[in-house]
């Protein structure tokens, strides 16, 4: 009888251990998500205000990528994570008129992150309404596609090509 109760209790405790570890994991994932969102915001505001962003080195270069560390605003010496942003301008011109943006947030130090979170989005840069082909475009400079996930994705990848 006691053995049976012991098995039940140990099973229950084992499940709680998983729940406990998933709580910690969830916190790290949410931190990574916030950092990935920071990368999307960083890219958006630069695309809006800097006509030379992203700096594409040559005629055949369409992709630019950069990374930024994020420190704790309450403790500026502590790095809480980082984000890596990749911009693909290969579809910037008509008829596509989109800039593909990917941001990967990493909680913890960049070389050994505790969690990663990926956001992929497509920014509408068409001056014309896609339905009527007339200006203005109501979705100009808005993200018209937004996908999140891929926490475990090991490396930055964009869906190049069609």
């Amino acid at each position: 009888m006691i053995a049976l109760v012991l098995v039940v209790v140990l099973g229950y405790l084992g499940a709680r251990a998983l729940e406990y570890s998933s709580t910690t994991r969830m916190q790290q994932v949410l931190m990574a998500q916030g950092l990935a969102e920071a990368g999307m915001e960083n890219a958006r505001v630069k695309l809006e205000k800097d006509m030379f962003f992203p700096p594409l080195g040559g005629y055949g270069q369409y992709v630019f990528s950069y990374s930024e560390d994020m420190t704790d605003p309450a403790n500026p010496l502590q790095v809480v994570g980082s984000y890596s942003v990749t911009l693909d301008c290969s579809k910037r011109e008509s008829p596509y008129c989109i800039v593909r943006v990917q941001s990967v947030g990493s909680a913890g130090i960049r070389t050994n992150p505790r969690a990663r979170y990926r956001i992929y989005a497509e920014l509408d840069v068409s001056s014309y309404n896609r339905a009527t082909n007339l200006a203005p475009n109501p979705t100009l400079f808005r993200y018209i596609l937004w996908r999140e996930g891929g926490v475990e994705q090991p490396s930055v990848e964009l869906p190049f090509g069609d």
Binding site: L6, Q27, E48, P54, P73, R142
Partner: protein, 285 residues
Amino acid sequence: MTLAETIMAIFVLTLAVAFVGALLRTGLHHQAHSQRRMLAIGLARKKMTLLRAWARTPAGAPNYNFDAAPASWVSQATTSDPEYPNFTVQCFVQNEVLYSPCTSMEAPYVPLGTARAMNNSAKKVKISVADPVDPGWTADLVTLVCDPTRDLKAPPDDAVHLITTSAVPANFGPSGNDLNNPAAGSFVDMRAEAVYQNGAPVSDIFFDWYIVPLGGTGTLLTSRDGRTCRFVNGVSTGIANVTTEGNSVVAVHGSYRGQGQPPQNYVLGGVNPYINISPVYHLGP
């Protein structure tokens, strides 16, 4: 079974029950612990989402809540949530300087004060939600909230303005004057600004300057962010500084949300050369 054996069995049984009870109690304690932490994480996420939406809300032209002082951000975020009244929320807001294209590429220019910086376009925000039973543990989220997208002044009004910031030499006259003959090396300093629909300046925007030679030309000394520029009457050929005869136009071009704005020009023209000031507009990106 002897009495001793019975007592021993009861003792072992009691120990086992006590052990199992302790385990169960610990398990329940940690379950409550996990649930509180999950609630704290959810609340932190909720607060961050609400704060981001709040920052993008207009707060009376020309401002958005994004422009509010950090204290307003903090009070917005730390307002008690009716669903989680026991959780304490802390908010830290800090102005974040962004460097374009990125910090690592602009780092060499930061000590020189010439980095392409965006000083007022981003706020770094941290939301911390403390576990009400174990206040030493907090659910922390850190992110950036950036300047909301706004509308530029629409044509036919000009969204880009060119403003002279130095004394204009007497022989740098307005357009149409053709009596001038400025000295070699004379210059005029200018700056550019872009304005939103309501007339408020666009912060942190970058500009591009160029010369349209109309027979003559000069030299532009432009800051790396394009916000200031000096036109010098003269051209360096490598072995000498010379002046050219004819007119020149200096134009500044700004772009916001990928839309080219009509450049505002500074007409620098004349004979040998004379340099005039005139708002001549070129349409198109």
